[in-house]
Symmetry: C2
Subunit: 261 residues, 2 copies
């Protein structure tokens, strides 16, 4: 079992911290600049907390930095040198940003979207691990395996590609659902009517190759329907352009029958 | 219980026909120009079949046309006049395309994506009903209710908007998953790593307003990450343009905090 310091008290720190605590690890300390938030998480994981980075406990095996990407660099500059492993939980930041504060660095990236109020079963969440040497990798894999069944060693470059893939599959997908809901709202149609169709679409795409299960007017080259649809979208430049561009991208991907990247 | 003629023997005809047969209705006849396909479905639903439109059984209560959108018009011209209700199952064709062949027309549109080999529980699939008069609407609602728990009366205009919303939520969403898989493939990363993230994203979007649960670099206005991502996509014009346009659409939808249509 490891001694852990959590740096950050947001969604990711909360989910990972409580899971590690439940798995039997000792959370020594929570650091956050916001005292109420630090105390809240510290209470959950039965640890102390501090709002002063200089007061960071020096006895931890692992320091988990779970703060916004653009705040990591500044934090690392202010952090006292520690002998434990220091990891961040970011999808895009390279491991190297941690080098100024310590020798043993790593990445502990959970491939999931977190909201404090939504319970997540971490057991099925893939943890992407990177480490400055094999010992670090092994320690981090062991730590991740104590809370998840899916642990992968992935370097910074591949992790960045995975994050880019996640932006398309999740952030962008969510936006299309927002557009779809907006179209329903404009005709006072309940968006929930689409639920079975959306769930079936995702199931088909995840159990088959999504290129092969593509349906709809674009892949059928049904120009009449596409014209009718574009006419309905002419008052929204964004939606009109999205419809045109995604349709042509569907046609191109299927025409070439070859991948584009 | 109704007497039904199925016109078409593809995915939709097969799913609806077998469900109606199981619910106790009598399938009098299957019509399809392809004899093997017609026989296959006829055997499943214990009916006769024909490949000659002139031989259509005249004793049915309901004729269900489940063929490609652009073939409906031609078929209707060739169809003998019948006294039963004639419906199509299309998301976009207006009910009026059926008027040349009969007086009692309607729409029987299942809001789902069908593949013959994938079992679908029709009970949860919304059926969108339209009818040329109240009697027709009532008969079609009764028929739909015998195979589904979700039956809605929706006019042609609203049905077309629902279909447009479905294109964004399903066809376009599937394409983004195809792009995401392509990005994973290009780095030899297993696309399946994203499964828990994708499933959670869809669950969040369907249980909350997708605008409110939007995450990712665009909504955070994280220009640094977006630049890094665009750089990685510079060899694929389609993906580069998709990333730029969807990101700016996310920013616009959240900036205005108002719907765009």
């Amino acid at each position: 079992m490891s001694k852990i310091v959590l740096i950050g008290s947001g969604n990711v720190a909360t989910h990972i911290g409580t899971a590690l605590h439940s798995a039997g690890h000792t959370i020594l300390q929570v650091f956050s600049k916001t005292p109420t938030s630090a105390k809240l998480l510290a209470d959950k994981v039965q640890s102390t907390f501090t709002t002063e980075i200089k007061m960071l406990d020096s006895n931890a095996d692992v320091y988990i930095i779970a703060i916004k990407d653009d705040a990591i660099n500044e934090l690392v500059q202010e952090m006292p040198n520690v002998s434990g492993i220091v990891v961040h939980t970011s999808g895009t930041q390279p491991m190297q940003v941690l080098e100024t504060c310590c020798k043993r660095t790593g990445v502990f990236y959970p491939l999931q979207t977190f909201k404090k109020e939504v319970k997540i079963n971490l057991k099925t969440v893939p943890f992407c691990i990177e480490g400055s040497d094999n010992d670090v990798i092994n320690e981090l894999r062991k730590l991740a395996s104590s809370i998840s069944d899916v642990v992968e060693t992935i370097n910074s470059e591949d992790r960045a590609m995975l994050h880019l893939a996640a932006v398309f599959a999740c952030n962008f997908t969510n936006h299309l659902l927002a557009v779809s809901k907006d179209i329903c709202d404009s005709s006072k149609l309940p968006f929930s009517l689409l639920n079975p169709l959306i769930n079936q679409t995702i199931e088909n795409a995840l159990t088959h190759d999504p290129v092969k299960v593509q349906t709809g007017p674009a892949v059928r080259r049904d120009e009449n329907i596409m014209k009718v649809h574009l006419e309905k979208l002419k008052n929204s430049e964004d939606y009109y352009n999205l419809y045109k561009l995604i349709s042509s991208s569907i046609i191109n991907l299927n025409k070439n029958n070859e991948r584009k990247l």
